[in-house]
């Protein structure tokens, strides 16, 4: 089975793979770090566990990124 992950094709022997397993294979150990888009739709974080991927699925991982300047917030 072939899946497109972040624009690049990845091949698997099995016919489906769990999203959490796919994240781990891509070295994302903490699902809280990433927002996942599957075939153009965002997957709710609560649904990561039950989501699996199949042939020709396209999945994008979007990571939290900070950067720039600190000390701009005061509550």
């Amino acid at each position: 089975m072939k899946i497109k992950v972040n624009g690049k094709t990845q091949e698997f022997n099995q016919a489906q793979i769990g999203l959490i397993e796919l994240l781990q294979l891509n070295k994302v150990t903490n699902p809280e770090l990433v927002s996942v888009q599957l075939n153009g739709l965002f997957v709710k974080r609560e649904a990561y566990q039950e989501t699996s991927l199949h042939e020709n699925d396209e999945v994008d991982f979007l990571f939290f990124m900070g950067g720039g300047s600190l000390s701009t917030l005061n509550i």
Binding site: L33, G67, G68, L70, L73
Partner: protein
């Protein structure tokens, strides 16, 4: 408005540019842009917008220049260490282009002042490092229908998109801030200095496109790049119907409490 000979000369490379011209340069000169954070991203954004002749540039940052900043925050120089970042930035802009009006806010952006500040500007640039402020900017801009440019960098990677009213927002991608200390900051994980320039100049370009109203903004798509592989990708995303602030049944109708972990305040 009419340009003087000196202005026509200064902006000649814009004026001869087909999609800018005199008309576009006038729009740039009348533009008002708020830059949140005079750090790694804010520095190149401020320099390029000042060089381009943006009429009014607001810069908000409560910090002072630190020696560790100079590796990437190119608007600050060695003699500026310990100087307020907004003053350091204002001085450089005055030298680069004295025609630019700079409004320096030497304070922290908060739920109390954000609406009053952003209402004075056409577009906001997020050049902040922390997620509470990123969500504060997003929420205030969505609620006030104010365009903004999101920017994030870490290690060798960057991401940016542009919000305009009616299009997808930051919460469409990330519905809530990550738990404190789960995502490393640049001070914890490092960042290649020039990455800040790569991303900041993209944000500055988006602002200029917005002001002259040309081209296609990075709306409903997020640009990400990894400088190690030098791969650039644009990922399309639509408005998220489940978005807590701009979705079909928003749960956020006003500003919230955006907590910044105390240990992150200094570094």
């Amino acid at each position: 408005m009419e340009f003087t000979d000196s202005q026509t000369e200064r902006y000649s490379r814009h004026i001869i540019l087909q999609d800018v011209g005199v008309e576009g340069q006038i729009k740039i000169s009348e533009g008002k842009v708020l830059i949140v954070g005079a750090g790694g991203l804010g520095a190149p954004v401020a320099l390029y917008l000042a060089a381009a002749g943006v009429g009014t540039i607001g810069i908000i940052d409560g910090d002072v220049v630190d020696l560790t900043n100079l590796q990437r925050q190119v608007i600050h120089f060695t003699p500026d260490v310990n100087k307020a970042k907004v003053l350091s930035a204002k001085e450089k802009i005055a030298q680069l282009n004295p025609e630019v009006k700079v409004i320096a806010y030497q304070e922290l952006l908060s739920t109390y002042n954000i609406f009053d500040i952003i209402k004075e500007y056409d577009i906001v640039v997020d050049g902040t490092d922390n997620f509470p402020t990123k969500f504060l900017i997003n929420d205030a801009c969505v609620l006030a229908q104010k365009p903004f440019s999101h920017g994030g960098i870490l290690r060798f990677e960057g991401q940016t998109f542009t919000y305009t009213p009616g299009n997808a927002c930051y919460r469409c991608v990330f519905d809530s801030p990550p738990p404190p200390n789960v995502v490393p900051t640049c001070s914890q994980a490092g960042v290649l200095g020039s990455i800040a320039g790569m991303l900041g100049t993209i944000q500055a370009t988006e602002v200029l496109k917005f002001l002259v109203n040309k081209g296609e903004l990075l709306t409903n798509r997020i640009l990400t790049f990894n400088a190690l592989s030098m791969d650039f990708r644009t990922i399309r995303f639509g408005k998220n119907t489940n978005c807590p602030i701009c979705g079909e049944h928003p749960s956020i109708t006003g500003l919230q409490t955006y907590e910044l972990p105390a240990c992150d305040l200094k570094h």
